[in-house]
């Protein structure tokens, strides 16, 4: 920080991630609105609080261990190597607090660590943390109106601060083993956020079961329509808005590609933004592709759903998710067509799975995030076949089989199965689902009764006052 250019680069990076965090907050606002809009009147308060309270729980656990996992687990551990030391990311590290970048006090750190991480650690941690909230929030929508909040919050910590960040360490970091060995490419997180969250939601739903009344005696599904479709659609609009921050947070804003911290090529300098794999990209490229894939998704969803607002908006999201893996490199028209495919698949798969397996996914989260995310990773494997997965030597190239295996790891290994196991444990202790009587009358019965009594008391008081003054 002893010259203006260095200071500008560092403080710009710090500010850049901070802005992404503010934008990504809107994703959570959107999810809360969306869920409350999708739930029935007598479950509103619990639905809102279920999603709201994941914020502090995932935040503190991501501070305690999530952030460390990201750096420590890049080799598996024990898939291609040992745990990696990450002394700047442990909760007891001095770099996890207010720090000016001078010489370290703790002997596990070096002066290089403190100089690099002092200003970036908090904002970089927060950018990843907001992804964690998103992963947990995706699950939250699918399970509304019958999961016990206590159980959901345990599951939220499992995906938000544990399994998703393992997948990020493996497949969404410049040196993760999946990138090195499989050539896994998932630049804007079709798999590492969406497929895993969709798979996780499916695992929970399988144990949790459908809402009372969802299926007829003959097994055919009934529609439980959103209580307030306008709140749902505004919520989805806010998620779109927050998605801009999400995309931008997936990049590193400015780095000398030939510099000593990267390729270390003498005599050459090239400053660029890069994706998480340190491959050069531009904000311009992802802006083209974000909007074109959103458009493809909206257009196809509008047609297949016959103009249904809920599915058209969800299809826009599925369009972006379906193209996100390769949206750093696709042509915008490719992004549009791939996005359209994501929306088509999400819509068709949702109803097919619902009818076939009696899965009650209240908001279509498994379809929009899980199936479209899985598809997005697989499509990128085909579309980017043969591209280098990293600027560094010795990494596998991007391939259909590398990305297909990657998609299976995201959806099933780190999403579906951990959720199934934890849900079964919670279920075996009677901790997963709310009691039947409460589900029938609504989770907010106590709140609503008290509110009704209070309102009645106030109304009586006003009437008494009016009669007295008349």
């Amino acid at each position: 920080m002893d010259n203006e250019l260095t200071a500008l680069g560092i403080i710009f990076t710090e500010f850049y991630y901070w802005v992404t965090v503010v934008f990504m907050f809107l994703i959570h606002v959107g999810f809360c609105m969306y869920e409350v809009g999708a739930s029935r009147y007598k479950n509103h308060t619990h639905t809102l609080m279920k999603n709201t309270m994941l914020i502090p729980l995932v935040t503190i656990t991501f501070f305690f261990f999530g952030w460390w996992i990201y750096f420590a687990f890049v080799n598996g551990p024990w898939i291609i190597g040992d745990l990696v030391a990450a002394p700047f990311a442990t909760p007891w590290s001095e770099l996890m607090g207010t720090h000016m970048g001078g010489a370290p006090i703790q002997d596990t750190l070096t002066s290089d660590d403190t100089a690099f991480w002092a200003r970036i650690n908090g904002v970089f941690w927060a950018a990843f943390l907001l992804f964690s909230w998103t992963a947990a929030s995706i699950v939250s929508g699918a399970v509304i109106e019958r999961i016990r909040p206590s159980a959901f919050w345990i599951l939220a910590v499992v995906i938000g601060s544990f399994t998703w960040i393992i997948d990020a360490s493996w497949g969404w970091s410049w040196n993760g083993w999946m990138v090195q060995k499989l050539g896994y490419h998932d630049a804007y997180a079709s798999g590492v956020i969406h497929a895993i969250a969709g798979g996780f939601a499916l695992g929970v739903l399988l144990v949790l079961g459908p809402r009372i009344g969802k299926f007829r005696a003959d097994g055919t599904p009934r529609n439980i329509n959103p209580h307030n479709p306008w709140l749902v659609t505004i919520g989805l609009f806010l998620i779109y808005t927050g998605f801009w921050g999400f995309y931008v947070a997936c990049n590193i804003p400015i780095i000398d590609v030939y510099g000593p911290a990267m390729l270390d090529v003498a005599g050459k300098t090239f400053f660029s933004a890069t994706n998480i794999y340190l491959q050069p990209t531009t904000l311009s490229a992802i802006t083209f592709n974000f909007l074109m894939s959103l458009s493809g998704g909206l257009m196809v969803a509008y047609i297949v759903s016959n103009g249904d607002a809920f599915w058209t908006y969800s299809g826009g999201l599925a369009g972006v998710i379906g193209a996100s893996s390769g949206n750093d490199l696709y042509h915008p028209i490719q992004a549009m067509l791939i996005g359209g495919g994501g929306a088509f698949l999400a819509y068709k798969m949702h109803y097919w799975v619902e009818a076939k397996f009696k899965i009650d996914d209240a908001v279509g989260a498994v379809a929009v995030h899980g199936y479209a995310g899985f598809y997005g990773v697989v499509m990128a494997g085909f579309m980017l076949w043969g591209y280098p997965s990293s600027p560094f030597e010795g990494y596998a190239t991007i391939s259909p089989w590398g990305n297909f295996i990657g998609a299976l790891i995201m959806f099933f290994v780190l999403g579906f199965f951990p959720a199934l196991i934890v849900s079964k444990i919670l279920h075996s202790f009677g901790m997963l689902r709310i009691p039947r009587e409460i589900e029938m009358v609504g989770l907010d019965i106590n709140h609503e009764s008290i509110r009704a009594m209070e309102a009645e008391e106030v109304a009586l008081a006003i009437r008494a006052e009016a009669n007295g003054s008349a």
């Binding site: 920080m1 002893d2 729980l57 503190i60 656990t61 501070f63 305690f64 909760p91 007891w92 590290s93 001095e94 996890m96 607090g97 207010t98 720090h99 000016m100 970048g101 001078g102 010489a103 370290p104 006090i105 403190t114 016990r148 909040p149 206590s150 919050w153 345990i154 901790m431 709310i434 009691p435 009587e437 409460i438 029938m440 009358v441 019965i445 106590n446 009764s449 009704a452 309102a455 009645e456 109304a459």
Partner: protein
């Protein structure tokens, strides 16, 4: 006496951590973990007690069917908003 390592801002270019009580990070971590686990236990107990009470109330009112009927009647009369 000072709770932190900062006694002036003149040599800021050499400063490392500037939060108070540097050196207590491990204790803070243990306290933080305890707060987190404790919260889950407390919340779980509270939720179970709340559900138990809700079920008692529902049964006292004649079961879920009766509660829903009463709710529907109340809404029809619209006594709440008046």
């Amino acid at each position: 006496m000072s709770t932190g390592l900062v006694d002036n801002w003149l040599n800021i270019d050499t400063f490392g951590p500037i939060y108070p009580f540097v050196g207590t990070e491990m204790l803070l971590t243990i306290a933080g973990f305890a707060f987190w686990i404790g919260w889950h236990i407390w919340q779980l107990k509270k939720e179970s007690a709340e559900f138990k009470e809700d079920i008692e109330n529902i049964n006292k009112q004649g079961g879920p069917g009766k509660v829903l009927d009463d709710e529907a009647t109340r809404e029809m009369k619209d006594t709440v908003g008046r």
